[in-house]
């Protein structure tokens, strides 16, 4: 148990060090001649207008919101799925009720027109 996470921890460290090593190598060998034009924001040659801040569509937020709820609920199904082989039919029905409640939320948002890209 402990060893598994130790291994993942080692993996995390090495998987971070490899890209860092690549960046450091590049930083050592690459030329560095900064100038204002080069460092300006790249918008295909156009002059940048205004702040980089753009008011983005609230629709993106809706999808993130719906995702959050679905993500949490689907993740909760994993323990149920793991022990499903040992469970009675009653327990399986409980899980199905859980999924049906989840689908009710989807139908509500669908009916409300929140899934349209209006």
């Amino acid at each position: 148990m402990q060893n598994e996470w130790l291994y993942i921890g080692l993996f995390l460290v090495i998987a971070t060090l490899i890209p860092v090593a690549a960046l450091v190598t590049s930083w050592i060998v690459s030329p560095k001649k900064p100038n204002p034009i080069k460092q300006s924001t790249y918008e295909c040659g156009m002059e940048t207008v205004g702040e980089n801040w753009v008011q983005f569509k609230a629709q993106y937020y809706i999808f993130a919101l719906v995702f959050l709820v679905f993500d949490v609920e689907t993740v909760f199904l994993f323990p149920w799925a793991v022990s499903l082989g040992r469970l009675s039919l009653f327990a399986v029905i409980e899980g199905i009720v859980f999924i049906l409640i989840l689908i009710a939320g989807l139908i509500y948002t669908w009916r409300k027109g929140m899934l349209e890209w209006a």
């Binding site: 690459s30 689907t74 689908i103």
Partner: protein, 399 residues
């Protein structure tokens, strides 16, 4: 135990006795051996990643009726190394107004999140990093770090296009994560475990693609969306927002994003093989030895990667509203209905002979597929009628 039957443990044992022979403490020796294992695995994957650059360029060239790289080395095999040298010696430009720390952290996180996935891949019955009992969720967890790196890259580079690209990409990533998690639940149900090793071992007799073909298809679609590849490559729609979230990245930092993307595609091909195509099983051929099993898994992963490329270079880009509607109104409900059916049938058919079980699961999928096709046909018929009724009216209004 010999080198052929169990290479990793054989070498590990040999190294342990060597290190302890030098007077090293037991726990330090095992730690160093694990570290060596990790470094070897990651370096192997990075080398393979370089090879993938060549594969991708060669295959896209063939799809587009070109030759692809063929100058540097035999069949252009040395080309990716030339690419890397080019990326290394390119000037690294950080735009004004960029948030330096976050800007530099994003490409590192991007590649790291992909490399992390290889910790749980079972290459063979005895060659695997770690048999984590929450493997399926671990894949999702690593993916969420990837999502984070995209937002970080876009926000820190202080560029409108980058931000728009990232919003699109993140909306797509999070949306398609739901059917992906739901279809990952199906092998979990069938194997009774989230661990990758047990899922592969559960496919000894029959691959899960037979028991759950629809889940395999949905997983593949969701994986392509997670990868941000065509037809779901809105994040980098060249004609609109140039390159999406990594527009400001140059040199090696861009290289890291690119390497991460390629390796990610291959890795998802690998997970497709593990979850649905039987992992290292291939009609008993894997019993010849662990190295053969690893080759089988790589071949299957390569097949998955090829399918991803095939779709990428054949299908055109979708519009974002179509894409999200496709996910929320089609893929997600289908995935959940399939999940409920699988759970129910798995319990009802428990205890029956394996032939009946396999046939029952397969027929359930066929039935569901048929119902889906009928619903889609009805929907498209009503849509067609709608447009036929509207079109003449619009035509008269023009006159």
């Amino acid at each position: 135990m010999n080198l052929w039957n169990d290479p990793v443990n054989f070498i590990a044992h040999w190294l342990t006795s060597l290190f302890v022979g030098w007077g090293m403490a037991g726990w330090l020796a095992s730690l160093i051996i694990q570290l060596i294992g990790v470094i070897v695995l990651i370096l192997l994957m990075m080398l393979f990643d370089i090879f993938l650059v060549w594969v991708e360029r060669k295959v896209v060239a063939r799809f587009q009726d070109r030759l692809g790289p063929n100058r540097v080395g035999p069949f252009g095999l040395i080309q990716p190394f030339a690419d890397i040298i080019k990326l290394l010696i390119k000037e690294d430009i950080t735009p004004d107004g960029a948030d330096k720390v976050v800007y530099n952290l994003a490409p590192i996180l991007s590649l790291m999140s992909v490399l992390l996935l290889w910790a749980i891949v079972p290459l063979a019955p005895v060659i695997f990093g770690v048999d984590l009992n929450v493997g399926a969720l671990y894949i999702i967890a690593a993916g969420s770090i990837g999502t984070l790196s995209i937002i970080m890259a876009a926000w820190s580079s202080n560029n409108k296009y980058a931000l728009i690209g990232a919003f699109r990409q993140v909306a797509v990533l999070v949306s398609f994560e739901i059917p992906m998690i739901a279809t990952m639940l199906i092998p979990t149900i069938l194997a009774g475990s989230m661990g990758m090793n047990e899922i592969v071992q559960g496919q000894q007799t029959v691959w899960y693609v037979v028991l759950a073909p629809i889940a395999a298809i949905i997983f593949m679609i969701a994986a392509i969306a997670e990868l941000g590849r065509s037809p779901f490559d809105l994040n980098e729609a060249e004609s609109e927002i140039v390159a999406g979230f990594h527009i400001e990245y140059t040199g090696m930092k861009f290289g890291l994003f690119y390497a991460g993307e390629l390796l990610h595609a291959f890795t998802f091909g690998g997970f497709w093989a593990i979850l649905f195509l039987g992992g290292y099983h291939f009609f008993g051929l894997e019993n010849l030895g662990p190295l053969v099993a690893a080759v089988i898994l790589f071949a299957k992963a390569m097949f998955g990667y090829w399918v991803i490329m095939w779709i990428r270079y054949t299908v055109m880009r979708m519009r974002i509203d179509h894409m999200l509607a496709f996910n929320w109104k089609f893929l997600t409900p289908v995935a959940f209905v399939l999940l409920m059916l699988t759970a129910l049938m798995n319990t009802l058919l428990r205890g029956t002979p394996s032939g009946v079980y396999i046939l029952g699961m397969f027929l359930t999928n066929v039935l569901l597929g048929w119902i889906i096709v009928e619903i889609l046909r009805g929907y498209s018929r009503s849509e067609r009628q709608k447009t036929q009724n509207v079109a003449p009216a619009a035509a008269t209004a023009h006159h």
